[in-house]
Symmetry: C2
Subunit: 530 residues, 2 copies
């Protein structure tokens, strides 16, 4: 499909046929075709990433079809009768007595304002001094002041979210990931926790196994378990998921022994994995993708920590000197490698703006995204307008893509500082003879291995669980709370040979991190009689 | 359990043993035990309605047990491992490196403000002139300025929502509904659409039937269908669901013929039912409840329109003269009648504050609510903090319960005016010989019966569907969109003897309502050759 063949009904009136688009998309290239006229601003207006993708996207091949992995539930979903009726609203002069939408005159909110940092003064102190107040009024759209207001933003919406913010998210996705197939879509959701719950319901049946890291995000496993979905554990190394181990699990899958069909879905956290902090390098990602192609496995990449990729530890590397350099430093996502359209990316603002916003989005092949949107229509509908409005004001109207990238660079350095504080404390306090770790290169988590077989209890026959419990309790008793590695085991039937504790450097300030690691160290010394 | 036996750990330090609580709870009675000290204000702090219910609640008998209606999925849910670890945070001096919560210094929001009406100046114009701006800062809690701030409100939360708003919702529930059993709970959710999706997953299995009105909210049916849950239609009259018909369906349930066990769940919209606008009177509700007791049926009351109960039509009744009179005018909810704890109330701010907020709550027996909270922990988590913060500022800090009741009285009169506009237009334009209706006493919907057998096509053998389609199309062609009654049929296998169109008076202004009904009338006249 050539750029000039982009359907006008979804792409508005802009003539994009002459636009040459760099691949990946450069931030300033957007100006060539971005027009506010392309953004539908009606109440509960339909929109689609296709309205906002660059012309180059449409020249690429389409994704593979995924009919064979849709669940019974997902296959049975039909479009909403009432939302379909909204199509008649496009006719000029139509008066609707159809939908049960309240009138905005009865919303007791006349204005919403947020005080935000002006780039590059991103710190709390700078924001207090130089921060800017962004205001959305009730009728800004009809008054020509903004593309989004309270009249639209506080009423019902469509399941992909408000076009105004969907545009930003779509463009951001293209700038960072440049998916190498044509028919990718973004859809806003209410947090990756929910995106994952929905994914399991859209793509799995009761009794299925999913593939995941041997230590995996425990909440993700707890989402799957009540649905009757079990985890098949894949061995990890310092780069997280091992591609060869993945191939092995799949190649040797024994349907009879497992009592389940061969898994068709991989759940992975490639960057700053929770709980291990491991990050898959570019080559590893390509290997994993290849194994998934070989066994026709669909990949769900849960990437809340993607932009918490940090500076190398103790390498004295200067911060990225430009936005372009920053973008180049980022590891390729699975989405970026995804020539087949076999990746669902769970993306989120939780770790980079604020988790309480409950605003996130998913990216994937149109065929599957359409099923997700049907799912959302009868469940969560769309993220809160009270969240989407400030995010639109901040990201699109105030910062733009350039300012948002600057913010992400700021976060990169913030997390580098925090990670360094954590590692310095560990180097200072932890007994070297029984602890070891890899410096994390992304995310929020430091994963500390403890040589539990050197614990005096081991010789006396104490179990892994007993010794882990003893260390955990000793630390808690000293006022330091870490997470136990065993909490994150994907498959509790496999005996645990190693022992780990997870410590986050995201929350506490430097002095508290120092003190907590000191206490944990004292607990270890007491337990190991050092 | 006597009031003095209320466990102190959940009810704080207040000595409530001497408090005499009126039943139902009067607004000003709250002052006797309400203390801000009872509100947990920590990041992601646990809370419970028990912290905020009046002492009298605890003297009532407990709800029945509902183990026998829990789904396979709901029974399998375990408490979140990571959220359980948060219990250790209560120990004094504990430093947590446990949970992956980002630090609020990295939230790029320093303040949020909303401009809201000052009671009683509720209109848009009055708000512009006399409205008040409410502001939440990032560290208002530690600075002693407020119980809720951005540091807490924009971070992760617990599945019941933030204690600050949960308190208001709990008190509001007690003031309005005074549930007649002890262990009721409220839990915030992200909209009743989702509450209903969760309800089906918590209480039903694939293959089940649920009971509902013969014309029912089509989105609710569309939520159930992909889960393999069918609707058993119960005949309605001008008061909606008929208790005798419900008894009949249940008494004569033929498991073999239906291929399903006897239904154990009723889904009903008692006030201003969608789509019929019918409202069950107090006696009808008591009858329905009794039938549900007889057959041990659990009741889900979906009540978005409860506070859109209006003044009687053309009766020239003056508006309620006091808050107490307003509350007395409200029909009793099923929750108010619920001596067994067999009611789940789906409550919502969507129709009374703003649907885009995606803030709602459910009320029901503690045993079931605990299962819902587990469900939310691994799915939607909690409503957006960007929504909860303004709602808390407006409802709790600014209006209080008194001001909120005043707002609801204001809405009652607003909707009365809108309903009257609709009925006046119908009286003015619609051909009497082929249309009839009951004036709605609650909600957003006017349900117009059309005598389709008088349509010239009927004698020529045209079907119900054909004639409905012809009228719909004729109206759309004239620029007036109403909803077709058949869209809302609970059971499409039962032939439809009557024909209806649904018109809402919630959205359009008076002149547009007038014009749309005029156009619909012209369509009818053309179709019926009048």
């Amino acid at each position: 499909m050539s750029p000039s063949a982009i359907p006008v009904d979804v792409r508005g009136e802009t003539d994009t046929s002459a636009v040459v688009v760099p691949d990946p998309l450069a931030i300033n290239a957007l100006a060539a075709w971005r027009t506010d006229g392309a953004v539908p601003t009606g109440t509960a207006a339909f929109s689609s990433s296709d309205m906002f993708k660059s012309p180059a996207c449409f020249t690429r091949p389409k994704a593979k079809r995924w009919d064979h992995i849709l669940s019974t539930e997902a296959k049975a979903r039909k479009p909403s009768t009432l939302k379909a009726a909204a199509a008649y609203l496009k006719r000029p002069g139509m008066i609707s007595l159809g939908g049960g939408l309240p009138s905005s005159e009865n919303f007791p909110f006349e204005e919403i304002s947020v005080k935000v940092p002006s780039a590059p003064g991103f710190s709390e102190e700078e924001t207090k001094k130089t921060g800017k107040t962004l205001t959305a009024g009730k009728h800004d759209i009809s008054e020509g002041k903004s593309l989004l207001d309270l009249e639209v933003g506080l009423n019902y919406g469509q399941s992909m979210g408000f076009a105004q913010l969907l545009r930003f998210v779509t463009e951001h996705t293209e700038i960072v990931h440049a998916p190498p197939y044509a028919d990718w879509q973004c859809c806003m959701t209410v947090g990756s926790t929910y995106s994952w719950d929905a994914t399991l319901r859209v793509l799995c049946e009761r009794g299925d196994y999913i593939l995941t890291e041997e230590y995996s995000f425990v909440s993700a496993l707890e989402t799957a378990a009540p649905l009757g979905i079990k985890a098949a554990a894949v061995t990890m190394d310092e780069q997280g998921l091992r591609a060869d181990a993945l191939d092995e699990v799949l190649t040797n899958w024994d349907e009879k022994a497992r009592g389940a069909r061969k898994p068709h879905l991989l759940y992975t956290v490639p960057s700053g994995q929770n709980p291990t902090g491991a990050t898959q390098g570019a080559e590893r990602r390509a290997e994993v993708y290849k194994v998934c192609q070989k066994h026709d496995v669909y990949i769900v990449e849960d990437e809340p920590y993607y932009f918490l990729q940090m500076q190398p530890y103790k390498a004295n590397v200067p911060p990225p000197s430009s936005r372009e350099e920053f973008l180049k430093l980022l590891l390729p996502s699975f989405l970026k490698l995804d020539v087949d359209g076999r990746v669902l990316r769970l993306d989120s603002f939780s770790k980079v703006l604020a988790p309480g916003s409950r605003v996130s989005w998913i990216v994937g092949a149109e065929q599957l995204l359409e099923r997700f949107m049907r799912h959302f229509e009868t469940s969560v509908q769309n993220p809160s307008g009270f969240s989407q409005i400030p995010f639109f004001k901040l990201l699109d109207e105030e910062w733009g893509h350039a300012g948002y990238i600057d913010w992400l660079v700021h976060l990169r350095l913030e997390y580098t500082r925090r990670r360094d504080d954590m590692l310095h404390a560990c180097e200072k306090y932890l007994p070297q003879e029984i602890t070891s770790w890899e410096p994390p290169s992304a995310g929020m988590f430091h994963w500390i291995e403890v040589s539990w077989k050197k614990h005096p209890g081991f010789a006396k026959g104490q179990s892994h669980a007993d010794i882990e419990e003893a260390i955990f309790t000793a630390s808690v008793d000293r006022g330091s709370l870490l997470s136990r590695g065993s909490w994150f085991r994907a498959d509790h039937s496999i005996p645990e040979d190693k022992m780990f504790f997870r410590a986050t450097y995201a929350a506490a300030p430097a002095d508290k991190i120092d003190e907590a690691i000191k206490r944990f160290s004292e607990a270890l010394r007491a337990e190991f009689s050092l």
